[in-house]
């Protein structure tokens, strides 16, 4: 048991950390704190999903917030009140219109549908070289946005879907966050994950067949879309009301910023980034609201939050390209695992920018 824990200490420590934060948050009894925590854990699910693809394949994806949106709508279709669905979403299949499915069913749908979409799109996208594939993932985001914003009979178009039970609080969210961390970890240390990470290295990539690399990328793409989709499902059942607008560039930017700030070459980095960016954004938000000193209202102008986050991201890229985690995984001080640390330690030159200058 002890050996098992030491070997897998990174996910164990991360999950333990998440639980501790949740306990502390719930103990405050403060509504705002709990809402912020819940939202953060949902984002953590999405960012960990994003990491499963980006961290392992080295290809930046701008499309995962699209998958999150697909997941959110799938959950809404399953769980919204039949009364609303029959009037507003008349294009849905009858079984969805007439029934209200429980949370578990909604989340399964929120996981499977994005995975299916990712599989179909991924077959095309993974054929492209790295940078071209990144740009093409934009196409995914645009397609999802365009379809969901206009397909009125299924998505209610520019008005919103309402009547989704709000069952997601801090405990449910942290449960899924932990699940996402463990899933991502298992993928990372799996044979496929190791091979995919190795394929970012030039020599190994040269030896592996291109077909094989593409297949491994596709698996990571589908799995990461499923996780991001689950995050979307949670989001829908957290808000209770849904439009497509939030699932666009703003959230894409924030989730990528989380990954960059934490360090996208390690799972611990992804988790750390979510925490760090959430804290910074909350602080900037408070600063924007301002403080009153006597007759003086001191506050940052609106938009400072976004600009601050953008500047932070640029600074991290320039001065600490491996992010806060510096590419390392979280380990208990002094309890180094007996076996060699998982591939999280080996930094890809692609991502870190430490590429050896070619002579």
């Amino acid at each position: 048991m002890r050996d098992f824990l030491i070997r897998h200490q990174t996910p164990a420590l991360l999950v333990a950390g998440l639980v501790v934060v949740t306990v502390l948050g719930v103990l405050t009894g403060n509504e705002t704190v709990q809402v912020t925590l819940t939202e953060m854990f949902i984002r953590l699910v999405v960012v960990v999903g994003l990491w499963v693809f980006i961290g392992n394949s080295g290809i930046i994806s701008f499309g995962h917030i699209g998958f999150m949106g697909v997941g959110a709508y799938a959950a809404a279709w399953a769980s919204a009140e039949p009364g609303f669905k029959q009037i507003m979403l008349s294009g849905l299949p009858v079984f969805l219109q007439e029934n209200q499915y429980p949370f578990a069913f909604a989340i399964i749908g929120a996981t499977l549908l994005p995975a299916l979409v990712a599989l179909l799109l991924g077959i095309a996208l993974m054929r492209l070289a790295g940078t071209a594939a990144s740009i093409a993932t934009f196409a995914v985001l645009m397609i999802v946005n365009s379809v969901y914003a206009n397909w009125d009979s299924v998505t209610a178009g520019s008005s919103s879907i309402i009547g989704i039970p709000t069952v997601v609080g801090p405990w449910v969210a942290v449960g899924f966050a932990a699940g996402a961390v463990v899933t991502a970890y298992l993928f990372q240390v799996s044979r496929l994950g190791l091979m995919l990470r190795a394929s970012r290295d030039d020599e190994v990539a040269a030896r592996a067949s291109a077909v094989e690399v593409k297949r491994m990328r596709l698996v990571a793409f589908v799995l990461s879309a499923a996780i991001a989709g689950a995050g979307g499902g949670l989001y829908a059942q957290f808000l209770g009301i849904l439009t497509i607008d939030p699932f666009y560039l703003g959230l894409t930017f924030i989730t990528l910023a989380m990954l960059v700030v934490g360090g996208m070459s390690s799972l611990s980095g992804a988790v750390a980034g979510v925490f760090a960016v959430t804290i910074i954004v909350e602080l900037l938000r408070i600063a924007e609201r301002g403080v009153s000193l006597g007759a003086l209202d001191l506050g940052l102008p609106l938009g400072s939050q976004e600009i601050g986050l953008g500047v932070l991201m640029a600074l991290i890229l320039i001065f600490r390209p491996n992010g806060l985690s510096n590419g390392r995984e979280l380990v208990w001080p002094g309890a180094a695992p007996a076996a060699k640390a998982p591939a999280g330690r080996t930094l890809s030159p692609e991502l870190t920018g430490d590429a050896a200058p070619s002579p």
Binding site: G58, I59, I60, L121, A124, L125, R127, L128, A129, G130, T131, A132, S134, I135, A136, F138, A139, M142, I143, S146, V147, N150, W151, S199, D202, A205, A206, A210, V213, K214, L249, F253, L256, A257, V260, P301, L302, G303, S304, E306, I307, L309, G310, V311, M313, A314, L317, I318, P321, P349, E350, L351, T352, G353, A355, P357, S358
Partner: protein, 304 residues
Amino acid sequence: MIGFLQNLIDAVSLGSIYALTALGIGLLFGILRLINFAHGDYITIGAYALIVPSADVTARLLIGDLPLIVMTPLICLIVVVAALLSDVLVFRPLRRASSPTLMIASFAVSYIIQNGVMMLYGARPKAVDLWSGANTQILIGDLRVPMLQLIILVVTLVLMTTLTLFLRKTPYGIQMRAAAEDFRMATYLGVRGNLVIGLAFAISGILAAAVSLLYTTQSGSLSHTMGLPLALFAFVAVVVGGMGSLVGAVVGGFTIGIIVTMLQAYLPPELRAFRDAFAFAFVILVLLVRPAGLVPSRTSFERV
């Protein structure tokens, strides 16, 4: 037939805008391996530079009121300065960074510019009447051709020809092409890396400024996210054309312009709202058939 020709003119004019944008993005990608997200925001900066900075809903023209011959170079100058600043502040410290890192950095620059513009000018879109004289139509046979579309086409052709001549005939142009093909080797021969990169930023700034003026005249409105769709379509144009090829960027730009216009014209009305989705899906289809793009670059920049 007349209808089709009319659509074709629309397509070519929209394609020109995308091609100019894609050219600016493609030029930087060629030399720096940077997919510059902020390119769309350079366009936004050029457009907002026309008006008085204020959060008012109605826009008052400032530089936009000056005669064309003063206004154009001034807008170019402002956008070029913005482009060079983004290089000096963000991209230069990242010279040795990988392509994905650069792309993310430019995403950050884009986000900063967008929110900066919003902070200065407010979030609501503004109407501007830049050059109403250009909105007349001329009749060629039965064909009504908006004057502005002709201007767009002419400006595009002039800019492309000038750029081609610059790249082919001048010492700096030759150095830029050499750097685009093999940056390290060019520096071994004494080509100044930062100068060439600065030039590329400046030229992409001029191209962006041209798009600012043309696009603002055509659309008659400003918004802090106006550059975004242009940049996104242009990215896709760069990929469809073939990454690393300037000819490809232009071909890709016109292809996307034609696809979008024709979908708008010939999709059944109930599907027209999904135009962008169809356009992007079509792009994915094209890439499925030709993963290296329509005009594959002779120097292959990337492996797998």
